[in-house]
């Protein structure tokens, strides 16, 4: 690993002031540190944001659950409030990686990184999340731009993620047996009026499957999407799963999610 400067920011302002084109924020470090170690990324400055008090913690109001960006996966999975308000979100957190990763990795880091097979992005889409940064509020639908790409500007810091509490929801992941990231993960959330079917792992970026959403909004039953033949041309294909298998898994996991709601 190449040498770098370590900074510990005391608030958001300081953190974004320290940011430059050769810096990264250090949250859980679960992505940043391994990629630096393997020489895939080099930074001159790492700006630790874990000590910024405002970035940690979980707040539940009548309509939404707001989670600070530096909140660890284990905190989300153990939170009684989250379990009560959006049980599927707590079980999503519980299914991330392994205990070591859950004890360090953060929701903000996961979303900022936008790995095509990460779990949290699907929750953001399904639960109509609002991403609060130090500069603005961004709707989830406009936040995830593409593979490892988000609407964040350089130096912009996620402060919290606000999830809308649905009527019913469930997240069903078919994990990569090695890494336990999602080969396909489908987050189904039934809100008043409409249903979101957020899919991660299948394509280069998380997306809301319009056809399934429509079918389920009409009739919230797994039978309404059973046998749906999805177009696999844009799906990922690698040694762990072909595009066709992924296409089939999207429907299967969506059905499971609806049945589990």
């Amino acid at each position: 690993m190449k040498d770098f400067n370590y900074h510990s920011a005391k608030d958001s302002k300081e953190a974004s002031k320290l940011a430059s084109s050769s810096s990264a924020f250090l949250a859980g470090g679960m992505t940043t540190i391994p990629s630096m170690k393997l020489g895939l990324a080099t930074y001159k400055d790492l700006i630790d944001i874990k000590n910024i008090k405002k970035l940690s913690g979980i707040k539940v109001s009548g309509k939404s659950v707001t989670i600070g960006a530096a909140t660890k996966h284990v905190e989300v999975s153990n939170s009684k409030d989250v379990k009560k308000a959006i049980p599927s979100l707590s079980s999503l957190a519980e299914g991330i990686g392994d205990p070591q990763v859950r004890n360090r990795g953060t929701i903000g880091g996961s979303i900022a990184n936008n790995d095509p097979s990460a779990d949290y992005p699907s929750a953001c889409i399904a639960l109509n999340a609002t991403i609060h940064t130090n500069e603005r509020k961004i709707e989830a639908a406009k936040f995830f731009k593409g593979m490892f790409e988000t609407a964040l500007k350089k130096g912009e810091l996620i402060e919290a993620i606000e999830f809308q509490i649905p009527e019913k929801s469930s997240y069903q992941k078919h994990p990569n047996p090695a890494s336990r990231y999602a080969i396909v993960g489908v987050y189904v959330a039934k809100h008043k009026g409409d249903v979101n079917v957020a899919v991660t792992g299948a394509k280069s970026c998380v997306y809301n499957d319009k056809d399934m959403s429509k079918a389920l909004t009409g009739n919230f039953s797994s039978s309404s999407i059973d046998g749906m033949d999805l177009d696999s041309s844009e799906m990922n294909s690698d040694m762990h799963a072909s595009a066709d298998f992924r296409a089939s898994l999207v429907v299967t996991q969506a059905k499971k999610a609806v049945d589990a709601c």
């Binding site: 040498d3 393997l38 392994d98 078919h174 990569n176 047996p177 090695a178 890494s179 990231y181 080969i183 040694m239 762990h240 799963a241 072909s242 298998f245 089939s248 898994l249 299967t252 996991q253």
Partner: protein, 792 residues
């Protein structure tokens, strides 16, 4: 005194391991040490056009950079294959040179071309990036099945063929097949695995200019053997000037048998620069450069009568050696594989033909089970298929072909001294509730799931390797084991063993044995291993040999101690040596109340001239001291055996295979410590089930390892397994005084076919290759649905 053999004595080594006090190679730091980083080939096959170290030499902190040229100039030898195999046509096997640092050609991704030695690890890394290697990239050969049609990798080795070996009689087999009612045939792949010991390889080499001695601390399963190879073939130093220490070692599974490039290079370089050198593999280096295991492509056939008697067996296998033939590389797919391929059955005629090929992949060598998992997979998949095609219950068909009496002269090589295969099968069936399977299958069906049951009966040849047996097969080296038992004057015992513990609990089980033999409390017994300066010589630990060979050497040395003790007691108590009996640590003159404890005898042996004792207690001809050595060369292999039964449930929509139940009923002969044996069985099963359902080393066609990290190589985790249901039948081995057989590899041998037979049973007989990943199984489920629809 109650016997310790057979009881669950807590592991003596756990205190230090669980409190972080283990001392592994990477924990060793020497004064003034330097750090080594190896520059490795990023290409699977290339010739080296130019290698320029000028820039790197100027990098900060660099002490030295050495390349293939220097190592060749110093006449340091290469890595070797330990067994010479002769082809069917009588020609000797063909092995390429394998220099510790490649000079002209590189043959797999990770093949080292230079070593950078610097004051710090960071500086060594930095400088290594500045070594410029100009490669001419050549077309890589990576496929096992097609290797013989690929470009010639090593000059003069036609078709990339190391040997084309035959065991058995083709003519007899042909005659048997001519008489058959039915021939069952199968094409299978034994997938390549990466051993993944928890501790990555490491070494620290030191040179003492005063004594002119090199000391190498290394992660080895067999330090004496490593010294011998480095000395005799590597030309690193004469044996008496080379000390190899393998301290605590965190798992090996065969991957730490080999002397590796880094061992030789660091030892040689430490002398050259007259400073200590430390090298610790990163996990990605382990993936690329540790030996890999398995990698066979097999076509096998079984000739049967219509009522299910086996008549003949054919086995045509291509075994991938990787880029070079390493220590056990050639014996694993031959003598450790062929003889076991007929399994636990009486098959009158059989042959195994193995073509061993080179490819541009990491060398393949012995990995837990070594040859026997591949053999068992072949025969047990075939027998299961036979049961389906003949419509005979899978357990009945097996029993029908079990040997009826012991010793059992197995078709190809082995004479199995003892066992009771029927008892093992019956017990396994009971443990697994075999009868209740149909009801469980229906329950799964009602939930939309597919359920399958699979059986394997196996035997394996352990305790490698009796010299007589090995010599008669025409393959060089027999592998005995040594032990030395030393009493201190004040009565504690130190046992030096040539076996090596890297997870096998020798410190406990060997002490249990010595405690029983000598009647000394277990707390007063130390087991010492892993240092060529301590103990005479040793062959090390692999092939489930530590107890069956190393343990017996300890017993024999203890018996010599007792014999001497009897003579000394007789002299001290003025009795006949024949009248002295030894029991529970006491020498007793029969029909008298005269006795001496073994502690008193030891004291007398060391300090014969005690006050008031007017004459020496030592009989004429006996020297002072109490220390005995034994070199034990077994008369035969030992033959653990057993039956395993697995049950899986498959979700046809996702292809997910859930291992619902796993039953192992093994015959390991006498069990010294049931807790330790359970640990060995669990570990073996985890690796065997891992092979069947999860693990796979995959290269792309250019020879890049696609599964080079845990993000892509599936190491099974605890939550992948059900509670294992473990039981035993214990028929004692008749070929050694403890009656032991060996338990280290059984799980890895039996589990792959057991699990795959269950998966394939669930899939209505459709073949899938290992590992049975979700996508493969999902596809098979779709086919099954289609063919069921057609049938209906």
């Amino acid at each position: 005194m109650a016997s310790l053999v057979g009881s669950r004595v807590e592991r003596k080594e756990d205190k230090r391991f669980l409190t972080g006090k283990g001392r592994y190679t990477a924990d060793i730091n020497l004064a003034n040490q330097t750090y080594a980083i190896f520059v490795r080939s990023p290409h699977a096959r290339a010739s080296i056009k130019k290698l320029n170290i000028d820039k790197a030499l100027k990098s900060s902190g660099v002490v030295s950079i050495l390349t293939g040229k220097e190592i060749a100039d110093d006449k340091i030898g290469g890595l070797i294959a330990g067994w010479a195999i002769r082809s069917e046509d009588g020609t000797e096997m063909k092995c390429p040179g394998n220099p510790p640092l490649a000079k002209d050609n590189v043959n797999f991704v990770g093949d080292p071309v230079a070593v950078v030695i610097a004051e710090s690890l960071a500086e060594a890394k930095e400088a290594a990036e500045k070594v410029e290697v100009d490669y001419k990239v050549l077309k890589a050969v990576t496929s096992t099945a097609d290797a013989m049609n690929g470009d010639t990798i090593h000059e003069g080795i036609d078709k990339n063929l190391c040997f084309d070996w035959l065991l058995g009689d083709r003519q007899k087999v042909k005659e048997a097949f001519d008489k058959a009612d039915k021939v069952i045939s199968i094409d299978i792949i034994n997938n390549r695995l990466i051993p993944n010991a928890m501790e990555p390889r490491a070494c620290v080499a030191d040179y003492n200019a005063a004594s002119e001695e090199i000391t190498l601390y290394t992660t080895s399963q067999n330090p004496h053997l490593s010294r011998l190879i480095m000395s005799a073939f590597g030309n690193v130093a004469p044996e008496h000037k080379l000390r190899v220490v393998a301290p605590d070692v965190g798992g090996g599974f065969g991957s730490k048998i080999n002397v590796y490039n880094e061992d030789i290079v660091c030892s040689w370089a430490a002398k050259k620069i007259n400073r200590a050198i430390k090298w610790v593999a990163e996990r990605s280096e382990s993936f690329l450069t540790d030996i890999h295991g398995r990698d066979h492509v097999t076509h096998a056939e079984l000739a049967v009568t219509k009522d299910g008697k086996f008549l003949g067996f054919k086995n045509e296998t291509i075994a991938n050696l990787g880029a070079y033939a390493r220590v056990f590389g050639t014996v694993t797919p031959t003598y450790l594989f062929g003889p076991c391929a007929t399994g636990v059955y009486e098959i009158p005629a059989a042959y195994t033909n193995v073509k061993a090929v080179y490819t541009n992949t990491a060398p393949v060598d012995a990995y837990r089970g070594a040859g026997r998992p591949e053999a068992t997979y072949t025969i047990e998949r075939l027998v299961e298929k036979a049961s389906m095609e003949l419509g005979i219950d899978k357990t009945e068909l097996r029993i029908k072909n079990f040997p009826t009496a012991f010793p059992f002269k197995q078709t190809l090589v082995h004479t199995v001294d003892s066992g009771d295969y029927v008892a093992g099968m019956e017990k396994a069936k009971q443990m697994a509730d075999y009868k209740g399977f149909e009801a469980r299958r229906k329950e799964s069906e009602a939930k939309g799931k597919l359920r399958g049951i699979g059986v394997t009966s196996y035997f394996e040849a352990c305790g490698i390797a009796p010299s007589a047996a090995v010599m008669s097969l025409g393959c060089g080296v027999g592998l005995w084991e040594s032990a030395e038992v030393r009493f201190n004057p004040t009565g504690q015992v130190t046992v030096y063993t040539g076996s090596h513990s890297h997870g096998q609990s020798h410190q406990t089980t060997f002490a249990q044995i010595a405690a029983d033999e000598l009647g000394v409390p277990i707390e007063n017994i130390d087991i010492v291993h892993g240092d060529t300066d301590k103990g005479t010589f040793g062959m090390g630990t692999y092939g489930s040999r530590s107890l069956a060979v190393g343990g017996i050497a300890i017993v024999n040395a203890c018996k010599k101690i007792v014999e001497k003790g009897k003579r000394v007691t007789a002299k001290m108590l003025e009795a006949n040596p024949e009248d002295v009996e030894f029991k529970d640590g006491e020498f007793i003159v029969s029909k008298s109340n005269k006795k001496k404890t073994i502690g008193e005898v030891a004291f007398a042996c060391y300090l014969p001239g005690v006050r008031d004792e007017m004459k020496s207690p030592l009989p004429e001809g006996d020297e002072p001291g109490l220390k005995e050595t034994s070199f034990y060369d077994p008369s035969n292999f030992s033959f653990p055996a057993g039956t395993h039964i697995a049950e899986v449930e498959i979700d046809p929509e996702t292809g997910h295979v859930k291992l619902e139940k796993y039953t192992a009923c093994d015959d390991f002969g006498r069990i010294i410590n049931p807790m330790v044996v359970e640990g060995q069985v669990h570990g073996g099963l985890a690796q065997g089930i891992g092979q069947a359902l999860y693990e796979n080393a995959e290269y792309d066609e250019t020879g890049q390892l696609m599964t080079g990290s845990y993000m892509d190589y599936t190491m099974p985790r605890a939550d992948n397994f059900p509670e294992f249901n473990i039981g035993y039948t214990c028929t004692h081995a008749t070929t050694n005084p403890l009656g032991v057989k060996g338990c280290g590899e059984a799980g890895a041998i039996a589990a792959p076919p057991t699990v795959m037979n269950a998966v394939i049973d669930a899939l209505g007989g459709q073949e899938v290759t290992m590992p049975a990943t979700a996508e493969k199984v999902w596809k098979a489920c779709k086919n099954l649905k289609k063919s069921n629809a057609k049938a209906a």
